[in-house]
Symmetry: D2
Amino acid sequence: MSSTFGTLFKMTTFGESHGPGVGAVVDGCPAGLELSLSAIQAQLDRRRPGQSSLTTPRQEGDQIEILSGLENGKTLGTPIALLVRNHNQRPGDYGAMVNVPRPSHADYTYRMKYGVASQSGGGRASARETLARVAAGSVAEQFIKTVFGVEIVAWVSQVGRVKASFDEVASLTRATVDHEAVRCPDLEAAAAMTAAIKKAATEQDSLGGVVSCICRGVEAGWGEPVFDKLDALLAQAMLSIPAAKGFAIGSGFSCAAMSGSEHNDLFVASGRKLSTKTNYSGGVQGGISNGQAIKFEVAFKPAPTIGKAQKTVDYEGREVLLEGKGRHDPCVLPRAVPVVEAMAGMVLADLALRQAAHSSDLVTPRRQFHP
Amino acid sequence: MSSTFGTLFKMTTFGESHGPGVGAVVDGCPAGLELSLSAIQAQLDRRRPGQSSLTTPRQEGDQIEILSGLENGKTLGTPIALLVRNHNQRPGDYGAMVNVPRPSHADYTYRMKYGVASQSGGGRASARETLARVAAGSVAEQFIKTVFGVEIVAWVSQVGRVKASFDEVASLTRATVDHEAVRCPDLEAAAAMTAAIKKAATEQDSLGGVVSCICRGVEAGWGEPVFDKLDALLAQAMLSIPAAKGFAIGSGFSCAAMSGSEHNDLFVASGRKLSTKTNYSGGVQGGISNGQAIKFEVAFKPAPTIGKAQKTVDYEGREVLLEGKGRHDPCVLPRAVPVVEAMAGMVLADLALRQAAHSSDLVTPRRQFHP
Amino acid sequence: MSSTFGTLFKMTTFGESHGPGVGAVVDGCPAGLELSLSAIQAQLDRRRPGQSSLTTPRQEGDQIEILSGLENGKTLGTPIALLVRNHNQRPGDYGAMVNVPRPSHADYTYRMKYGVASQSGGGRASARETLARVAAGSVAEQFIKTVFGVEIVAWVSQVGRVKASFDEVASLTRATVDHEAVRCPDLEAAAAMTAAIKKAATEQDSLGGVVSCICRGVEAGWGEPVFDKLDALLAQAMLSIPAAKGFAIGSGFSCAAMSGSEHNDLFVASGRKLSTKTNYSGGVQGGISNGQAIKFEVAFKPAPTIGKAQKTVDYEGREVLLEGKGRHDPCVLPRAVPVVEAMAGMVLADLALRQAAHSSDLVTPRRQFHP
Amino acid sequence: MSSTFGTLFKMTTFGESHGPGVGAVVDGCPAGLELSLSAIQAQLDRRRPGQSSLTTPRQEGDQIEILSGLENGKTLGTPIALLVRNHNQRPGDYGAMVNVPRPSHADYTYRMKYGVASQSGGGRASARETLARVAAGSVAEQFIKTVFGVEIVAWVSQVGRVKASFDEVASLTRATVDHEAVRCPDLEAAAAMTAAIKKAATEQDSLGGVVSCICRGVEAGWGEPVFDKLDALLAQAMLSIPAAKGFAIGSGFSCAAMSGSEHNDLFVASGRKLSTKTNYSGGVQGGISNGQAIKFEVAFKPAPTIGKAQKTVDYEGREVLLEGKGRHDPCVLPRAVPVVEAMAGMVLADLALRQAAHSSDLVTPRRQFHP
């Protein structure tokens, strides 16, 4: 297990889906920050199952509790412990599957690694684990929004074969994104995605997709080459989300088919301030933010829990026909949106603090080089 | 700067392209390992510029020197320091550009971050930095090959618009990959790639592409959920390579358009041993290896250094026409192959040690669950 | 804040003395370990104030709750979250002191560092923070006791000017230590210590002292040179305990006055098994355990909270006469015993896992060298 | 092996005493710092054997080489690699001892841990390893001296039974310390120490002692509770030095015999600026610097390599009479002085950067609380 993320702004998460609770300890958040509990709760509600007809009907009603680190609504600089109690601790729904490793789940690999067969519905590999990230990530987001004005907005840009064509990301807000339950701001695509998800639900199948994300207001200089590059840490953060299969920054895989003269982001000046004409770099050059919007995409596989019968084998190698009886989501993409935002927040908050440490206006005022 | 990678099997790299040298300290390699210097040198030679007509004509002649950690050809368990001297320390070729941040390079961001304008041709953002990774990664690869039989093979699967269609990866070797200078084992695609690269060179332009990689022989159980998942660490490792823009494990971004019933890797049994019928998971489920081959892809942008004239601005915001005069590679993909292998080796060696620590044959023999 | 301790076997602690609760997340404990809650509770009870007439009369009644990581009494290999609720969250007793930094407390330094003036009775610098360590440390102790047979016993060896002369540590148990409330197994010294503490209480003053500790059953090979030496990590662990002022391994400061020929621990053999005639090394040579008992001492200053009037100044520099009105302990030493044991347990559990990773019976069976 | 020290300002050391060289990579040093090579060399010369009649006659002539991170005498913000070549790589002097673990050396424990029997004269446990610390520590010291005005001075305060009585530490300089070869600024004690060392040399024996250290100019606020307290990290740093057996901050072990009313450091004001009347805290309260001088002591055991015959056993358990033939130091204390300074420098530089990150003038200007 490696349940801590970050170097200076850190979270340590805990909790199984069917144990007493799930939570996180945020360590390294500076003191004096006015922390909004309702902002945390709002993100938890966006992640929660049962929030729309597109998601599983479970009503988890995840209520955040803060155990430490706060006094009179302000951070003390000490660890902020966040807890959400589980309400349904009985692993009954999954009981029948205990001898059958569910295909493309973590049942088999957890058993091989830990030598235990948890009854608890997926344990730490359960999507419920992401709740802790969302709570902690919201603290991170509040920090960088308050101090640096950074805004993070993610949305669903693909579900199954339906791709959004949405270029006006500059002014995108969470409110716009949430206009449709599927969280795609391209309304035409949203309608097609919704239809596709309902069809998949009827067929007891599931659909994958892509979440896109933009981070606005990140000043130039964040990111720690060579191994903790901004995009490298984003990649780790995103691939650590359950079901993520791919990460792309800026032009992503489409860069492969471009020439250097097409792909290079030429500099332009507005007075003495430089920006770039295009943003194929996705706001990151050499692992360091360049002041442009940070843009990336995360691919999520179709949820492996499906109702459709599957021919597989049990741990003894005997053929079985597996039919999912538990509750499940035909498409996790809309609920993945706040998780992506949370992980982006964690990465940026950590790199903001690391830059504050190293920037060393201490030694040489770095901004003297700024035009 | 964050120049250390790994938790137990670690490398710390150092060196600018035009300083005295480039190197790495490998800490955590177990004692008693017979280490082949020629294997390290062989990978350095595969990374070296000037090795074929496709790459830049510089002859760096990078000779590895081991400063510590070895006695009579065997590791002592102590840090292994690896050094390659630079032969060309004069930053002359780049001198003219000092007042112009090269588009899509790290010039601008390094200056914004560190407040210094290194003359040294890109400094730590230079591709020469990857030399240290290749040396350290070769130590990692030798460790996991000797002890676990793990084999890592990467190859070029796309250059510009030319994609290889090569499915027989099970038996792929480095020798097969190296048959063509472009390092694509699909010979027909290789010819087209070669032509495309030569055309780009003539046009003083550059091309991007994709490197694919397979890791064979990784046993089930490697990877540390929830943040140090095997695929999450691979993603960080790959995105930390200069010019990388995307990472995909298994089905990658193509998973978005698949349904769960298509994408799920059904288990099959051979006696009591389980494997999967398909491998859309890319050998990783829940962040832990499942015993199947680990497969991933890395997208690299076209090298930003091109001869073609570019209209950009200098640090004062004045328009300039930038024409690259230095030596440069029209396509870095063939040379990226050993870098991808090295980083994969580092990730796997570290997770192998972490699994050795946690596997807890100590407490419960985990293999008792294996059919 | 740096609230995480350990590399593989880790704890992250949280909680202020007057917030909702105090707790810890233990990450990295191997799966399958039978965990005794009553053993954790027993150590918490030994740390608890109000347990004897020697300690403060507060009855905290600290009840441990486990929020994750356990199923059917066994560890899952996932994070174990431990929580103790606070019962007295009103910081009333300390209210008057808010404008006066208490001498030799952390009031002044916390304010200088965090820029906030917590009302919460010392916050993270409060002795209540050690509760989380004791809970987490008990998990660590159970792990190394079950798997390796390691036993850790600490006791009070000095209070004020009274020093115990107790050499028979080989068979010392916690039961023996707990025979007297002052936790000194030298009964004559214990009586003198008890009298000294009662006298200090009468005088509204406090007393310092020394806790000694022995760890039996640690096999040779634990400890990671050069910076994570066994004794170096013990030193960090012990000095991180509130009020600790000194650490000594084996001969400690008395080594200064010895010659090499006196101090060297000569080897003796019993059959082919080596041990040492003396143990001035304290069980550690070159930062690695040598198979002998690990012995160390920790000096604790007299508790700074005293009833006696003190002439000091407030934050505005005005002279004040400070008289402690809150409840306080005349001597924290007896309650420090389980804290020392807990921190020793954390260090040893972590090094045990790190040795399991690096020992690399993988490469060369290290025990082949054992006589 | 754990060869990296620090969180933001880090060093990674490498090298055996008889391999090609010894060195360090310093990562995290801010850019733009003017670095004096002669200052590094000066500290290496103070550590070097053979510098006076009191130390071993070996002439190592350790010459520092900088491999990276520097341009035109200024740091680039990139890793600074430091290398010192070994001149005597033949392990001849120690050859005869290979089958006999030297008492109180690390021979036995390294063999038990790593399963290898290095010929290389102690390998990483050799005092020569400290050379890398001194070089890296000098970079750290230059950073905190330039930016914060911090000055670190260590000296020998005890050799054998001779203790210095020297209270005027406020104005102590390295020049004063170096007045006598034994590095004790109490000249009377210095003479007695010198005599004691010469006597020990004649007897082919060795002597232990204590090094004291003062760090002036550390502002209030450095140190990261709860586990990376300033004194906790100093304790780890000091105990990681070969031969160290004890660490004490401020009053140290003498605090045990004091009462709270004696030991508390009462605040006094000069205008609105607070300081403390006494400094039993050693400049650290609650793990955070309070603006007073930081004072600590480190006990070093008598060097275990002695000429005197010792009755011990070999690895097969056979009795042998071991007579040291190699060159050895009768007292390492004078040479330990720059090592203690270097480790203190590393701890303070790291905590300075961490405070720069967390202090969060970002959120709340912390100094608004300062009187």
